[in-house]
Subunit: 209 residues, 4 copies
């Protein structure tokens, strides 16, 4: 790495998702132009992030320590007894879970998988939290789990991951009388018939109601 601190910080910023070299460099100059109090706040919040944020041992989402009043190391959603213990939704990442929460029509539990499987990859279990998922499923089953909802993106990688999960979970599910479902496909808001792909039209027809 370059010994020039501007270049060095630019390179660190480039690790963030979706940030090109020019915008990363502009970030550094922006920081240089800020007063010390902004930099101090930034450093303080980055330094303490892992202390102030826990990763839930049940669903693996990140959450603020302050969120939980009961000294529980689990997150607010996993400890919420009003939520439906019969459903577990598997999402790829934290922000997906937030999108589902915003939609406001799901009241079961979550599991954050941590990624999608790349299409060509041998060690599948390494990139997603499969062992952790299987582990948590044991206790969920004891608590009356009846459905696993695979809620991944409608992409080739999402489908590949969903297939893999189904394959890995099917015997445990069958044994315990648990349904494995995936999110419905069809026209999403704004879809026009004229421009819809074959797959979407087929699913929209299949799921007509």
């Amino acid at each position: 790495m370059d010994s020039n601190p501007i270049v060095k910080l630019t390179e660190l910023f480039r690790h963030f998702p979706g940030l090109g070299p020019r915008q990363a460099r502009r970030f550094v100059y922006h920081l240089l132009a800020q007063d010390k109090s902004f930099q101090d706040q930034l450093v303080y919040n980055i330094s303490n992030l892992k202390k102030m944020v826990l990763q839930c041992p049940d669903c693996y989402r990140f959450f603020a320590v302050s969120e939980n009043h009961q000294n529980d190391i689990r997150c607010k959603i996993c400890t919420d007894k009003t939520r439906d213990a019969k459903q577990l939704m598997i999402v790829e990442k934290d922000v997906d879970m937030e999108a589902i929460q915003r939609a406001g029509s799901y009241s079961g539990h979550y599991f954050v998988l941590g990624g999608n499987l790349p299409l060509i990859e041998k060690k599948n279990s390494a990139v997603i939290r499969l062992a952790e998922l299987k582990n948590i499923l044991q206790s969920k089953i004891k608590n009356g789990l009846k459905e696993i909802i695979i809620a991944l993106s409608a992409s080739t990688e999402g489908d590949h991951t969903a297939d893999y999960l189904r394959h890995e979970l099917i015997s445990m599910a069958d044994t315990n009388n648990i349904k494995i479902t995936i999110l419905g496909r069809g026209l999403s808001t704004g879809s026009e018939i004229e421009y819809a792909d074959t797959e979407t039209i087929r699913n929209a027809l299949l799921n007509r109601h």
Copy 2:
């Protein structure tokens, strides 16, 4: 209208959907640069378009006269006895019907509505072929119709039109034991959970399988 033929033809071209003034003008210069044989072909094909193309009195799609070998004034799809007479799909326009045909998973009949209802409009029946639809439904019912599939775009106008159609057709449908369905909503190909809107997430959840 301007008496300048370049300006005049530019203005005529501007009537075509999605064509701005500059592209329309470029079309005129393009025409001027072509040899006479191209212009002759164009004039010939525009002049004869309505003679060589019929509008099917059953489904209201446009089709080539040559398409039908049996001297039937109805289109190939409406006269195809292998297609399922129990289903009628209502689409907005010809190209929507073509997209459904390309998808290859529907084998019933069609009806081209001719448009969507604007959200604020008094004379609803004027902009869409409602009377024609009701008329054709009478004969379809005699032929064993069991389902009307409303296949409009997943937009505010599409939904508004679907609601209106359902309201207009419901008693006729109930009397004759016909189901009225709409295309399924959910994730369309490429949808990412993170960016999906509330409506799409709700439908994807509802239609999970």
Copy 3:
């Protein structure tokens, strides 16, 4: 070509610059949905386009016959005695000349070259009006021509064409004491220094004033 008139006309429309297959097909359906009077107008104006539009034998631009009141076969600009006969601007196409006219700061004559030279092409003179240009230059020189302004786009092809023109015209120009110039390069409206390419920055520096 397909015997289906919808397909046939779609293919003809696809010859127009910037028109994809779907938009071309939508044009056909649009035409089918119009009343006969629109189609008649369109056919009339296309049929008569070449009769009502002349190509100026001096500058090779297309112009409405009605534009000229003096029964002159040359265009309004070439016959306008208030325009400066000392300057001739070479543009690629008619719409470029119109853009220059709109800018309102040039009062000399024009010559429409009819294209740019492709980068890899043997018969250069075939795709642009070089012989016609050389020919008209003879009479322009007699009328006191002092400057040839090459006004092509700032692209690789534009530059290649400009180089070629300069090479072809230089001895005639030198003999007759005519300057050959090209349009100035630099920051165009909206250019930001941060995103400007090397070439543009160099030219902006060179042409600083």
Copy 4:
């Protein structure tokens, strides 16, 4: 500010130019997913940025302390005796200077103005380094300055700032026989005549050569 550290850091990230709320949140989750060594590096480099980076008292650009071997508090460019002391180029921001350096055709000195003047603003001198510029000009004049090149973006704000600078500097410049120039305008790389605006065409004509 929210006490939730994820929300808090998201809000801090949103201060960076061009970062929306969703991308800012994704940055936080990205940070949470990194190992401690990455966070430590980031904190270290942000904390030490101002210590390791100086602002040159002559040109006001930011530069790495390590850049200068001679214990000079001024930057490498301002202390480079091979550069032409007769020219001073005024740019808006550090990255603009870097773009000019990349172009490689300027060898004079720079001054980073720190911004453009907003179009409606009373206290002009507050947002740009006018006092600092006037100050440094005094010493530059003693060293033989002959030209001030105003190298701002070709935008309304850039032009407004250039006008203001010219007005503020003109008498000092005249007294000392210094030219004030601005970057040349014209076609920038990729400009097409057909789509060029009036201003650009006029400048391209004026600066033809």
